[in-house]
C-alpha cells in the first residue's frame, strides 16, 4: 500500500512542482549572477553574492510577516491551520535569515574590510534570528499543543513588533550606516543587475513557497498523528513530542 501523502491532491502537486520551479529559478539566477550581470566597478566579482544575499533578506521579512499574520489569525480564530502555517513560515524564515547572515559577512570582508559591523541592518537581522529561534524554543519547551500554539503566537506577534523598534534604536545608536548599494530606489542599479536581482527575489519566493508546501502538510500530519494517538488512549504529550522530534 502506498503511503497517502498528507494534504490532498493540490498539496501533492505543489510539493512536486514548486521544488522543480525553485531549482530552475536558482540555476537561472546563478547563471545570471555569474555571467550575465556585469562586473561591479568598485567591488568587483565579490558583489555577485548580492544577488543571493539581498533577496534572501527581503523574503525572510516576508516570512516573518506571514508568521505575524498567522499568529494573529490563530489567536482570533483558534484554527490549528494558522498555527501550522505560522510555524512553517518561521522555520523557512529562519533558514533565509541564516543565509543572509552567512552571505553578508562573506561579502563584507573584502568590501568593508571586516566580516561584521554592529550597524543597524546587520544587528537587526541578528536580533531577528535570535527572536525567532526563541519562538522555536518556546514551542519545544511547551508540552500542551494548544498552549504551545498560543505561546508561540504571542512571541510571533511581539517579536514582529520588535523588529522595526530594534532597527530604529540601533540606527540611532550607530548613526548613519554606509549605504552598500542604492537598492531602495532601484535607480542606482544597472538594468542588467536589476534583472538578476529580481530573478533572485523570485528564486527565494519559490524556495519559500516550496518549503511552505512541504511543511504545512507535514504539520497537519503531525496534528493528525497526535489526535490518533490520543484516540488510541496512549499518553499524549510525551510520546507525541518524542515522535515529532524523531521525525523532524
Amino acid at each position: 500500500m502506498s503511503p497517502r501523502r498528507p494534504g490532498g491532491r493540490w498539496a501533492s502537486l505543489a510539493q512536486t512542482t514548486l521544488p522543480v520551479i525553485t531549482l530552475a529559478l536558482a540555476t537561472t539566477t546563478l547563471y545570471g549572477a555569474l555571467f550575465y550581470a556585469p562586473r561591479e566597478k568598485v567591488m568587483g566579482d565579490v558583489q555577485r553574492i548580492f544577488y543571493f544575499h539581498a533577496p534572501a533578506g527581503l523574503v525572510c521579512f516576508l516570512a516573518f510577516f506571514v508568521t505575524f499574520v498567522a499568529s494573529i489569525g490563530y489567536l482570533a480564530t483558534r484554527r490549528p491551520g494558522w498555527d501550522i502555517a505560522g510555524r512553517a513560515s518561521t522555520e523557512a524564515g529562519l533558514l533565509l535569515t541564516t543565509i543572509v547572515l552567512v552571505t553578508g559577512p562573506l561579502w563584507a570582508r573584502p568590501v568593508w574590510g571586516t566580516y561584521w559591523t554592529w550597524e543597524a541592518r546587520l544587528t537587526t537581522t541578528l536580533v531577528l534570528w535570535l527572536i525567532y529561534m526563541g519562538y522555536l524554543l518556546v514551542r519545544r519547551y511547551t508540552e500542551d499543543p494548544d498552549q504551545q500554539a498560543r505561546f508561540a503566537a504571542v512571541v510571533g506577534i511581539i517579536g514582529f513588533i520588535d523588529v522595526p523598534i530594534v532597527y530604529m534604536s540601533v540606527h540611532w545608536w550607530r548613526g548613519h550606516h554606509p549605504q552598500v548599494l542604492a537598492v531602495s530606489g532601484g535607480g542606482g542599479l544597472d538594468p542588467t543587475m536589476r534583472q538578476v536581482f529580481l530573478m533572485g527575489i523570485f528564486t527565494y519566493l519559490a524556495l519559500y513557497a516550496s518549503l511552505m508546501a512541504l511543511r504545512i502538510p507535514l504539520g497537519r500530519a503531525e496534528a493528525e498523528l497526535r489526535w490518533l494517538r490520543l484516540k488510541l488512549g496512549e499518553r499524549p504529550a510525551r510520546r507525541a513530542a518524542s515522535g515529532l522530534r524523531a521525525s523532524g
Binding site: T123, I131, G134, L137, Y141, V154, I165, V166
Partner: protein, 256 residues
Amino acid sequence: MTVRSPAALDLATPGTGSAVERRRRLSGPVREARKALLVWQKDVRVEWRSLDSLPAMFFFALLVLVIFNFGFDLSSARFSDFGPGVLWVAFAFSGVLAFGNSFALERDADCIQGLRLAPVDPGSLYLGKLLANCTSMLIVEAAVLPLCAVMFDYDLAASIGPMSVVLLVHTVGFGAVGTLFGGMTARTRRGDVLLPILLFSISVPFMLSAVRLTGAALAGEPISEAPAAAWLVMAGVFDLVFIAAAYLTFEYILEE
C-alpha cells in the same frame, strides 16, 4: 475565560450597601485600574512577608558588578566607558529573577487558577504584576546605585534627578517585556532558560537607550535636551508599545 461581571467584584469584596454602590458607579477603566492596584498590593505584601525575591535580586546585581569589575578592571577612570552598560546588565539580570518568580510563585502555590477565576481582567492582572515587578526592580536599583557610586567613585548626587527618570522609564520597559514572558515561561519546561532568551532578544532596544541615557546622565549632560531627550521620548514610546501589546495578549498566556 475570566468572569467579567461587575457584580462578582461586589460579591468578592463584601461591604456596606453604599460601598457596593460606590464601586458600581466607578467607570470601567477606573475599576480595572483599581483591580490592578489590588494585584500590585497583594504581590508587594507577599514579597514583604516572604522576602523571596528582593535579597536574591540585590545580591545577584551586586555580584554581577563584582564579576564585571574583574572582567574589565573597572577603575573609576574607566567607569564612564563601561559603567552604564555594566549597571544595566546587572539590573536586567536581577530583573529576570523578579519576572521568573512573579508567576512561578503563583504556579507553585496553585494560585494561577484562582487568579484566573478572580473577577479581574487578564490585562489588569498583567498591569498589577508589572507594577509589582517594577517595584522590586526599582528597590534593587535604588540600593545598588549608591553602593556602586561608592565602589567606583562617581558623583551620584549630581545626577540623581536625571538618573531617576532614566531608571524609571527603562525599568518599566524591561518590566513590560519580562512580566509577559515571565507569565509564559512559568508554564513551560525549562522556564528558567527560556525567560532570559526571550527577554534579552526582545529588549535589545531598551538596553541600547538605557546605556546611552545612563551614560549621559552620569556624565552630567542634561537629558532634557537633544540628543538624550530624543532617546528618552523613544524609550517612553517603546514602553507604551510593549505595555499595550502585552496587555492585549496576556489573556492568551493565562488561558488554560
